[in-house]
Amino acid sequence: MNLIRNCMLAIILAIVFAIIVLPYYGGLCAFADDGTTVVPRYMPVYRDINPNDAPENIHNAVMSGYDILINTPGYFGGKLSCGNCHFLGGLTKGGKDGGISLLGAAATYPRGSAGEAKVIDLQTAVRNCFSKSLNISPPPPQSRQMQSIIAYLHWISHDIPIYSKVPWLGLPPVSLPQNPDAQNGGKVYSTHCAKCHAKDGSGNKATPPLWGQNSYTNASPFNNQNIFSAFVLFNMPKGNAKLSQQQAQNVSSFIMSQSRPFWVGK
């Protein structure tokens, strides 16, 4: 008798458990109206992305966006390219020797901008890059070039949930020593940087000019001591970042003391 009773108890508990677990399981998904279709809630996951895999009807846009990012001067002249900061067209994972990743960036806009007390969307951010960092007037909003860049940035962010925290974006946080020495920076520059970026900072075929007429403007985020130092610390010399925190501070202070184009607004 006791055996039968306990078996029944087990069965009842199992049924109730099943009833409860099923909706929980469903809770991981969002149901559409017909109750069939499911959008899994992804986590942002970094993986290799090949722009060439873009679906056919936006393929040409994505590819030309990619081309603009890695070969900006080919389209707009000048000596700077998006890829100078966003290595490999932003397809990297950031961090050490990874430049500033753009993979997933599209999922984080529109957002409040650090510099201005307003929200900027992706297109505005791209335009800011053009006018402040590349010192080029941005292509018009509906132009194929702009549309291609936006399509590319979205495509390389595919599967990243909108407004999720994408950990590899931006530069890794670091607290730098706050006593930059520009004079010492000059020495660091000639030891570690001048070989590629030239003594007068004008760069060579493969490297961007760091100051002078062809470099970024004073309104670029790179003209900010902390941002630039962090970039140098994690990425320079390219492919083999090895400067100390103090050296990074010093050399960026040295580079910031040089002359560069003045941003005249949009």
Binding site: L13, V39, T124, Q147, S157, D159
Partner: protein, 680 residues
């Protein structure tokens, strides 16, 4: 026959309470089924509207008038009893439950409210269903292992509220001590041949816990061989006047309830007050922090005042606290009434009715769901709160009078009166404070503004501080385009004319064209541009074509606001995911659209709202003429217009056939409308 005699008569009947329990339980099963498999939009789900807008609203009132009568017909108790009869092991109640059960109950209750704040139980069919089933599981466990209704008496999250409200309630079950003293059978507790004993562990003779826990199931009446039990009707709060043994946990709960009431007013009105509370960036955590502080404040205040009084009366502070805590019960009750009953019941009262009408196949009425106008509700709420406050003051005086003598009465009474005078304005302040950003009301129905959580756009007002201003500005433009973006709008339409509820509906019937997830699917190829087109450009296409206006400058506040709004309501959707509700299906019947048939249909189905001349009325936009969309708009194309009509028109009870939708579109789009200037 007087009322108490009448009630006692009912209680002694064999068919009571089974005659009420079974229908309730069956109806409950039906409601859970509706919650699980019914429509997922909050306001269209009968399960949600019945549970939260009807049952939950009436519950406090029931506690006051008929005590815990609900508990005797509660479906969870039914589950408990059935399982117990089948497989019950009848273990005794664990000691720690007897000792700490009340505190666990409170903890469960406040966690439930917290869950409501962060997940929105009331608006989510899924979470509500999970809640119901979880409670049912606990009832099963309790029934399977423990004796009687252990779960109900010691653990049910509603227990706390039930206890203090019923204790102040209007009904009491009493036994005559003189008769009971001679009794040896104790049938009331142990049970008789046909009827079990008291399900909630009460002995009627010991009256102390009686009104707080009795469920009026009538078992004791049926089992008593000496007819010792009687029912007493008393004025509300009378039960609290002469308490012999005040309980610390009940006083604590009364104060806690004041905090719960405050937090309901604060969070449900304007959750953004929680944002960044104590500098915590995580919204859920800051809500928790604010919630806990609001809960703690009244308890600490009561403690402080009790401490002060205890110095003067030279008693331990715990005794004063336990004794006087009860005086807050009427105020807590009044607030529950103002928030739950008046707000939910009167504002959404007809919702359940509409949902039932829809379910049995009648036309769903379009009128508002409120039973009385909002102004009257507000007046009611003020009056109820004031009445509750007065009762509380009176009760404090009563308690002081029955415990102290002479000067000490005023000495003990005044500090508590001051406490009351401090709390009541807080209530009013939080109750009537308006949120800083008031979202626009989109449709006539007050609940219409609530997005449906199950499929899941986040609420615009929950956007993080950095972008909230833009999200709300975007929402305003969506809802009333010609008012908030007048320079760019060329007609009387708004985004919400096609994208109902500002795009926050899914693409269901009557949902318009959903915009939840658009930020994830653009840029995409469009024929118009024969190239990849980003969201900004697409929005401008709407402005230039459907709104017959001008393109917004790319970096204008209006454009960024709209983009931010659309991105926010697409939150958590992976970029380039396949968003199922964004695609419209239209069966290909091979029908040749016939404008003449369309004209006839228009008169039958559309003219009532859109007017026979197509110029629209206050609630319905113009569908042709200068005030309508131009001939470059998607809606002016058969393949866009027909699916829209098929699933949305006539509004709220779409019943067109695909062929009829095609006919109507052919007719409507054959009518004159503005010309799109950039058309090639």
């Amino acid at each position: 026959m007087n009322i108490s005699q009448f009630i006692k008569n009912i209680l002694s009947r064999k068919w009571y309470p089974a005659v009420l329990r079974w229908p309730t339980a069956l109806f409950f099963v039906f409601l859970v089924y509706v919650l699980l498999y019914g429509r997922t939009e909050a306001r269209y789900n009968l399960g949600l509207s019945m549970t939260w807008f009807l049952w939950w609203s009436i519950l406090p009132l029931m506690f006051l008038v008929v005590g815990r009568f609900w508990c005797s017909i509660c479906p969870f108790a039914m589950v408990n009893d059935l399982v117990q009869r089948l497989v019950g092991n009848n273990l005794p109640v664990p000691m720690f439950l007897k000792r700490y059960g009340a505190w666990i109950t409170y903890l469960l209750f406040i966690s439930l409210i917290y869950t409501e704040f962060i997940l929105g139980i009331v608006l989510s069919t899924q979470i509500s269903a999970i809640l119901m089933l979880t409670l049912a599981t606990f009832a099963v466990i309790s029934g399977a292992f423990y004796t009687r209704r252990t779960w109900c008496r010691y653990l049910c999250p509603l227990g706390g509220m039930a206890t203090i409200f019923s204790k102040a309630g209007m009904i009491e079950l009493k036994a005559q001590p003189s008769i009971c003293a001679k009794c040896k059978s104790m049938g009331c507790y142990k049970g008789g041949e046909n009827t079990p004993g008291c399900p909630v562990f009460l002995v009627p003779r010991i009256s102390e816990n009686q009104p707080a826990n009795c469920t009026y199931c009538g078992n004791c009446v049926k089992n008593c061989p000496n007819d010792s039990i009687s029912i007493e009707i008393r004025p509300p709060t009378r039960g609290l006047w002469f308490l012999q043994k005040p309980k610390l946990e009940e006083s604590f709960l009364a104060a806690l309830f004041i905090g719960v009431g405050l937090s309901l007013s604060i969070m449900l009105r304007s959750q953004h007050w929680a944002e960044g509370f104590l500098g915590i960036k995580n919204l859920n955590l800051s809500i928790a922090a604010l919630y806990v502080s609001v809960l703690a404040a009244p308890v600490l205040l009561l403690y402080a005042v009790s401490r002060f009084v205890s110095y003067r009366t030279e008693e331990p502070v715990s005794i004063v606290f336990a004794r006087f805590g009860y005086f807050l019960i009427p105020l807590a009750f009044a607030n529950q009434l103002a928030v739950a009953t008046f707000h939910e019941l009167l504002v959404n009262g007809k919702l359940s009715l509409y949902n039932i009408m829809e379910m049995i196949g009648l036309h769903r009425p379009q009128s508002a769901t409120a039973l009385v106008s909002m102004e009257i509700i507000k007046v009611f709420q003020i009056l109820v709160l004031l009445a509750g406050a007065t009762m509380s003051g009176f009760l404090a005086h009563r308690i002081a009078k029955s415990n102290y003598k002479g000067k000490q009465v005023t000495g003990a009474f005044i500090p508590f009166l001051l406490l009351l005078i401090f709390i009541v304005p807080c209530y009013f302040y939080f109750y009537f404070a308006e949120p800083e950003h008031k979202p626009t009301e989109h449709l006539q129905s007050p609940v219409a503004a609530m997005p449906s959580l199950s499929f899941l756009p986040p609420k615009p007002e929950n956007a993080p501080t950095g972008i909230r201003e833009y999200v709300l500005a975007g929402l305003n433009i969506m809802a009333e385009t010609s008012r908030y973006a007048p320079a760019f709008t060329g007609n009387a339409l708004s985004c919400t004319s096609c994208h109902f509820n500002s795009g926050m509906e899914s693409n269901r019937k009557e949902g318009g064209i959903s915009l939840v997830g658009v930020a994830a699917v653009y840029p995409k190829y469009t024929k118009r541009h024969d190239f990849s087109t980003d969201l900004v450009t697409r929005i401008n296409d709407c402005f230039k074509r459907s709104l017959n206006g001008k393109a917004l400058p790319v970096e204008s506040k209006e454009m960024v606001s709209i983009v931010t709004y659309l991105t926010w309501i697409s939150k958590d959707i992976p970029i380039y995911a396949d968003v199922p509700w964004l695609s419209a299906k239209f069966p290909d019947t091979g029908h040749k659209p016939d404008p003449l048939a369309g004209r006839l249909l228009f008169g039958q189905k559309c003219a009532a709202c859109h007017h026979m001349d197509g110029l629209g009325t206050k609630g319905a936009p113009p569908v042709w003429g200068q005030g309508s969309y131009n001939d470059g708009a998607g809606m002016s194309r058969l393949d866009r217009c027909a699916p829209f009509l098929l699933s949305n028109m006539p509004l709220d009870y779409p019943d067109l056939s695909p062929d009829q939708a095609l006919d109507l579109c052919a007719f409507i789009n054959g009518k004159p409308r503005p010309t799109f200037m950039e058309k090639i």
